[in-house]
Subunit: 207 residues, 3 copies
Amino acid sequence: MNVLTLLDYASVLVFALTGALVASRAQLDLVGFAFVACLTAVGGGTVRDLLLDRNPVFWVGEPTYILIATGAALVVFFTAHLMESRYRWLVWLDSFALSIAVAAGTGVALSLQQPPVVVVLMGMSTGCMGGLMRDVVVGEVPLVLKQGELYVSCALAGSVCAVIGTGLGLPTLWALLACASVCWVLRAGSLLFGWRLPVYKGRPPRV
Amino acid sequence: MNVLTLLDYASVLVFALTGALVASRAQLDLVGFAFVACLTAVGGGTVRDLLLDRNPVFWVGEPTYILIATGAALVVFFTAHLMESRYRWLVWLDSFALSIAVAAGTGVALSLQQPPVVVVLMGMSTGCMGGLMRDVVVGEVPLVLKQGELYVSCALAGSVCAVIGTGLGLPTLWALLACASVCWVLRAGSLLFGWRLPVYKGRPPRV
Amino acid sequence: MNVLTLLDYASVLVFALTGALVASRAQLDLVGFAFVACLTAVGGGTVRDLLLDRNPVFWVGEPTYILIATGAALVVFFTAHLMESRYRWLVWLDSFALSIAVAAGTGVALSLQQPPVVVVLMGMSTGCMGGLMRDVVVGEVPLVLKQGELYVSCALAGSVCAVIGTGLGLPTLWALLACASVCWVLRAGSLLFGWRLPVYKGRPPRV
């Protein structure tokens, strides 16, 4: 199993956990847990594969991904009540899922020799789209667009690092490691220390 | 016309009716009715075809589908005021559309010799995605994720039946009939008698 | 550069401006501006290309589109506070973006010799999907479905004009110009003079 497949597996697992946590906040049943978990887990990678015309879509070719996501949903269904704060778990697991998925998307696009802009965009889409679908479907405010937090920016920074790294001759493995690390450190810094970019402050919208 | 095409036509027709009913609840104009009807009608099958890389997407190759969906929107536009309770019509038509679409998605995936997990997922996507898009776009709580009702579970059960059936040597037609019946009976039971799976009950989310 | 590419560039630019304006209303940071701008700018065309199986998707093959959208986001980030009414800018820019994108989608489908119904639908999808994604993601009421305004109808009318025009032997360039003009005039008439189609008026929904 190569590193790209490994990254896909890891991001599916962790994103599925976040999906199931969101399902628990929406008080869904077991199959609802599995549904949201699968959507979140494979959403970003599916967008990536459709955009890059990879065939078959990663989880259609290898259904183990779905079994992993379903297993993760099951585990959360029976253990979520043990968690001190499900929202903290959600946000932190999501930060790991984001970082891994950004590396997964970046790695796939690099392996297909896409131009740098496309590599960065595939990293960002793979990282952000799963969580975005999760939140839109359940009707929560998307974490991706939460005010005053870094999120898309972390994906962007991580992916750019990987592109620069491979441009400088770094082996892919190291470049993707740097990508995930930079992404996660920025996201964690944003969550812990309130790191942020200046936000647009106009007058409030008049509708 | 084979059975798969017939199922696609039937699910397009019934889903279009539900889309138009949702449009009537949002008080849209005639073209808005047609838009939501078409989105609902072809949404699930489009996801299926993109994921399985079927080419062309079913309604792009055969625009009659769109004419049917538009016709259904027209009929609802001029008759919805006659309905005693549009919401009941919506929910029940949606239960038929779900069942037919699950069979349609399952059948296509079976005919492409996909592995069982993929077959089940295609059945579920085809069944659930159209209605999900409809509700997200119009801003209603998705029927798919309504608390305390079976929905995705019905799709899952129906599709699993078809997979087991064909595995046991049942002709496709019978397997798909079983699929649609199981899906619909479960959904109807949920609507009429409150059948449900245990729901996750944790403390309320703290946000 | 031919006219189809030019239309794609123009619609990307103008839709990106609308995306950034919506981001300003949601008080996002700079990267959030770029994200929503890119999603809006390429959303409709991406749907069109996936449905028609055009390969690669237009902005994956030519990343300049993304740079344009990002540039537009930057400009809006630093100038939106100068605008008298951001909502008016949004609505009017959106009307131009809609008209150009409808022509772009119609043109591509015509150039692929699709049947008339598909041409019209591609025009409508390209025109409406970007704005729909923008509004759903940020959680605003979609402009597309705003009550008592023409929107999808404009896209429909414009695209039908182009189909009739080319059917009558009009050169593509003129047909697409007619398409964009009809679409824009209808939309502008709806915004300025309240042109509309009869809206469905039933009893209010009983939930």
